[in-house]
């Protein structure tokens, strides 16, 4: 009789000790693994402020955000006119394929075609959605400025030199490109008329 109680007491204690030990070990993993996540100062660098007024009309600048390249383009009325008339050439004209290519402020067809909060300033991640190269800016229509590097019906936009992907002036990917999606958007908002907070 004593043996039975002893054994069950023993088992209980083994299980209790083992269970608590496992909890302790699991809890101990948290700070070590956690320390490998981005540190506070790395996260602080996750938001970048930028003054778009520094970008000249028709100019493209590449800035850094979270270590990634970002295009800020000041689109002239001429460039803005280039967004129309070639929807059938595009893989995803309304930016609906994946979450990364649209934003919550894209609530009108206008917004969907200009892909920017303020149409004049397009802000997109400068990473080709194929394998990540930075595409070349070739904003004017046709082959006059770009020669054979672009197709005859070039609407103006970007051409990725690595594997030939093409994007229009709103960074929407053109059919025939190895890239699957439009250039990604990242969260941003205007703090003032010209100051943007990216991230």
């Amino acid at each position: 009789m004593t043996d039975q109680t002893d054994q069950s007491r023993r088992n209980f204690l083994y299980v209790a000790a083992g269970g608590m030990g496992a909890v302790a070990a699991g809890a101990a993993v948290v700070p070590f693994l956690g320390s490998m996540l981005p540190a506070a100062d790395t996260l602080a660098a996750s938001k970048t402020e930028y003054d778009v007024a520094t970008v000249q009309a028709g100019q493209l600048v590449v800035i850094q955000w979270q270590g990634k390249p970002v295009f800020v383009v000041n689109r002239t009325p001429e460039y803005l006119a280039e967004v129309d008339g070639h929807d059938d050439m595009l893989k995803d004209p309304d930016s609906k394929h994946i979450e990364a290519v649209s934003a919550e402020w894209m609530d009108t067809p206008e917004k969907r075609k200009y892909r920017a909060i303020k149409p004049e300033y397009l802000i997109v991640v400068a990473s080709c959605t194929h394998l990540g190269c930075i595409p070349l800016f070739k904003p004017t229509k046709g082959r006059k400025d770009w020669g054979d590097s672009v197709p005859e019906n070039w609407p103006g936009g970007w051409h990725c030199p690595c594997h030939g992907s093409l994007y229009d002036i709103s960074a929407r990917v053109i059919k025939g490109s190895p890239a699957p999606d439009n250039l990604h958007l990242m969260p941003y908002k205007y703090l003032t008329d010209t100051k943007v907070l990216i991230g």
């Binding site: 070590f32 956690g34 320390s35």
Partner: protein, 401 residues
């Protein structure tokens, strides 16, 4: 678990079952071990903790003495980054700093056990010697590690110790420059000390393996010092000592985490106040002292007028540990049954504490004298040992444990 198919598959390819049996479930241990025998497993635990926390600290620490704003350096900045910006960095850093001191507390208790119960005597001489090697490597690892935060104490402690080597005749300057990588402690020193600090604990892990292997050949001593015969007075290590060691780990971790979470600096003993001040090679802090666990040897060093003699005696105080098994001639192992040796050993423990206190404090004439007396007894303890058994009347030993 042992009967599962998976275990069988592994056993066929590793011989795991035989190992588990010979090292754990059928490995015989005297049944009368007291809690002083827990410190070996605790030392292994702390070594593991130090390596673990060290690896994660090394993901952010930068060993560069390049100056940054405010007289700080890249290295010091990286430690503060760990304390402030890295998720749980403060916890890992405090664990590592407290762990270093905890390692020495545990190992000193472990050595004390060995001294008192005669665990260094035959057939365990080599086990003891491997242990002394472990102590020396620990001291090296601690010394290299302490430079890394590049605080005032880091810098000046390293300066003093590397200068010590300069006292060695002929080779002294060469050795100092080899250690420092320059004419004074600087960036090259910091970088190589980081490399060595990473290396030494891994060396330790290997040597500890050898230490445990040597132990398993001769088996543990016990509080009576009597040879023990398998079966009658022994029990298997598992489950008895695994469970007792687990309890010991519980007690240790409770104390350790209390310190880590509520007083990690331990009033300047575990993280010295001066080390929160960035290293300044043009200004020595008013009071240089090594971290507490190195203070006894610091006193021995300072007890001698001649710099060379001090260095040699400090070296001798460590070297003499190696020959202890051959100095003590008594046939009786445990101090329990050796009235003279017992008093000597207790006095030795007190002496080491006194040496530590002197090493930590500012050197007044009185303390210097006390330090010299303590140094004398430190050596006397060893040198008298060959004579002790000649006149010591040991108490009658029990029949069995």
């Amino acid at each position: 678990m042992m009967k599962s198919k998976l275990f069988g598959w592994i056993d066929e390819r590793t011989g795991a079952e035989a190992i588990i049996k010979s090292q754990l479930t059928e490995y015989q241990v005297p049944k009368n071990l007291n809690y002083m025998w827990n410190f070996g497993s605790l030392a292994l635990l702390v070594l593991t903790l130090q390596i673990l926390t060290g690896i994660f600290l090394a993901m952010y620490y930068k060993p560069s003495a390049m100056m940054t704003y405010g007289s700080y350096t890249v290295a010091f900045d990286s430690v503060e980054r760990i304390m402030r910006d890295v998720n749980f960095g403060w916890l890992i850093r405090y664990m590592h700093a407290v762990g270093a001191s905890a390692f020495f507390v545990v190992v000193y208790m472990h050595i004390g056990r060995g001294l008192y119960y005669g665990s260094f005597k035959g057939p365990r001489e080599l086990l003891w010697i491997i242990g002394v090697v472990i102590l020396l490597i620990m001291q090296g690892a601690a010394f290299f590690g302490y430079l890394l935060p590049w605080g005032q104490m880091s810098f000046w402690g390293a300066t003093v110790i590397t200068n010590l080597f300069g006292a060695i005749p002929v080779l002294g300057d060469f050795v100092s420059q080899l250690l420092r990588g320059g004419f004074a402690v600087g960036d090259p020193t910091l970088n190589r000390f980081f490399s060595l600090h990473y290396l030494f604990p891994l060396l330790l892990a290997a040597i500890v393996g050898g230490h445990i292997h040597a132990l398993h050949v001769v088996h543990s001593n016990n509080p009576t010092g009597l040879d023990v015969h398998e079966g009658k007075s022994t029990i298997p290590f598992h489950p008895y000592y695994t469970v007792k060691d687990a309890f010991g780990v519980g007690v240790f971790l409770t104390i350790y985490t209390y310190i880590v979470f509520f007083n990690p600096q331990m009033n300047g003993f575990f993280i010295e106040v001066d080390n929160y001040v960035p290293a300044n090679n043009l200004q020595t802090p008013p009071h240089i002292a090594p971290v507490w666990y190195l203070t006894p040897w610091y006193t021995i060093l300072r007890s001698f007028e001649s710099k060379l003699l001090g260095v040699l005696m400090m070296g001798a105080s460590l070297a003499i540990l190696f020959v202890l098994p051959f100095l003590d001639r008594s046939k009786v192992r445990s101090a329990r049954y050796r009235p003279v040796y017992r008093q000597m050993v207790f006095l030795f423990f007190v002496t080491v504490i006194v040496l530590g206190y002197c090493g930590h404090s500012a050197p007044t004439p009185t303390l210097k004298l006390i330090g010299q007396l303590a140094t004398t007894y430190y050596f006397a303890f060893f040198l008298l040992l060959p004579l002790v058994n000649k006149f010591e009347k040991t108490k009658p030993l029990p029949e069995e444990i």
